[in-house]
């Protein structure tokens, strides 16, 4: 070992990196594990109900679950077509057109499930 190595900063120990990487990836995986199995189903059923009354584009629906410390938020975003467009589309059974943004509706529902570690 040369005397110069003594003064050089030690490289970051690989075990420290291992721990940090594990903590990040596992925090993510545990959050993903605890719950949202029902999300796709919920999304489909919500869509079915809304589709009964409004002509909607399935690709313009967004369901998101955010987990906070004490409170989790379920966010459902559905873009509704512009009124005239919708009527025209329904009457003519034409191909779907992009919907206007002004009519977009956002519905929010708050759940109270605290973030659990493992389920």
């Amino acid at each position: 070992m040369s005397i110069f190595n003594f003064f050089r900063a030690a490289p970051r120990a690989s075990a420290v990196q291992a721990k940090e990487r594990l903590q990040i990836v596992m925090a993510h995986e545990r959050a993903g594990r605890s719950g949202p199995d029902y999300l796709p189903m919920l999304q489909q059923e919500l869509l079915a109900v809304i589709a009964k009354y409004v002509n909607i584009d399935e690709n313009k629906v967004e369901v998101k679950l955010d987990r906070g410390g004490d409170c989790s938020t379920l966010e459902v975003n559905i873009e509704l077509p512009a009124r005239e467009q919708a009527k025209a589309a329904a009457a003519a059974k034409a191909a779907e057109k992009p919907a206007g943004n002004d009519d977009a509706a956002a519905k929010r529902a708050a759940g109270n499930s605290g973030a659990k570690k493992r389920i």
Partner: protein, 271 residues
């Protein structure tokens, strides 16, 4: 009433079978009537590690299918009183394990044995799920290495959601960590995760730390559970772990580098 233990890990090659053989032997050495079951259908190896591969006639799957009686398939260990091995089939696949079949065999075993130790296969498929489903206690075998730790966390999730105790809302399966292949010298150099790091990440109690040891390979070469090698660090560490499992208060050994005398240092340098 017997207790059912599962030795599991998610990841393969971390020491489940070695640990199952050692642990079952340790329990039997302390006077408990113990049976160790191989759940790795199609990839049977517990028989080799226990040194009874030439005595296998009938297996676990034969018993499940009603092709053999339980005591025809049970192999009594030649060295230790109270120790039995239930080998698995080498030819069939995991689908041969049915929940009803496994339950029937476990019920029959629990009339006779104090401890039933289930040696899980790697993965989270049928064999692994069946081995953990009926468990009262889980021993999570983990290496101080990223993929093993991650898979252990995954299997803890499975235990908490898909075991019988979880499904029926009973008291959860107890979970303890067995950290194997631990190399204190590499830990000291910062090249390996520390015991405390793994404990912090997995957040389950520590059952034991088994040091990396050449004795493990030597023991499996000759078909002897490593716990019977009473001069090896690994054997002693397993023995301590069994004691802790039974509620004894035993301090952890082999977690720091062993001090070397001047003489062995000099010898090492010249080697």
């Amino acid at each position: 009433m017997s207790k059912i233990i599962v030795m599991t890990s998610g990841k393969g090659g971390v020491g489940k079978t070695t640990s199952s053989a050692a642990f079952a032997t340790g329990l039997a050495l302390r006077g408990f009537k113990t049976v160790v079951i191989d759940f790795d259908v199609g990839l049977r190896n517990l028989d080799l590690v226990m040194g009874c591969e030439r005595r296998v006639v009938f297996d676990f799957i034969n018993v499940i299918n009603g092709e053999a009686k339980l005591n025809q398939a049970l192999i009594k260990d030649k060295r230790i009183e109270n120790l039995y091995i239930l080998p698995t089939s080498q030819t069939r696949d995991k689908d041969a394990l049915t929940r009803e079949g496994v339950e029937k065999v476990l019920n029959e075993l629990s009339k006779e044995f104090d401890y039933i130790l289930c040696d899980s296969p790697a993965g989270i498929e049928r064999g692994a799920l069946m081995s953990l489903y009926f468990a009262d206690h889980a021993i999570i075998v983990t290496n101080p290495e990223v993929s093993s730790v991650r898979d252990s966390d995954r299997i803890l999730g499975v235990l908490n959601s898909r075991s019988r105790r979880a499904e029926q809302g009973l008291e959860p399966v107890t979970q303890q960590l067995l950290l194997t292949r631990y190399d204190p010298e590499r830990v000291e150099k910062g090249e390996m995760l520390k015991v405390d790091d793994v404990l912090e990440i997995l957040a389950i109690p520590l059952l034991g730390v088994i040091p990396e040891s050449q004795a493990v390979l030597r023991a499996s070469n000759v078909g002897m559970p490593v716990i019977l090698d009473e001069v090896s660090n690994a054997g002693l560490a397993y023995s301590d772990a069994v004691g802790r499992f039974l509620g004894e208060d035993i301090e952890h050994r082999f977690v720091t580098p062993q001090k070397k005398g001047l003489f062995s240092r000099l010898l090492r340098r010249s080697a």
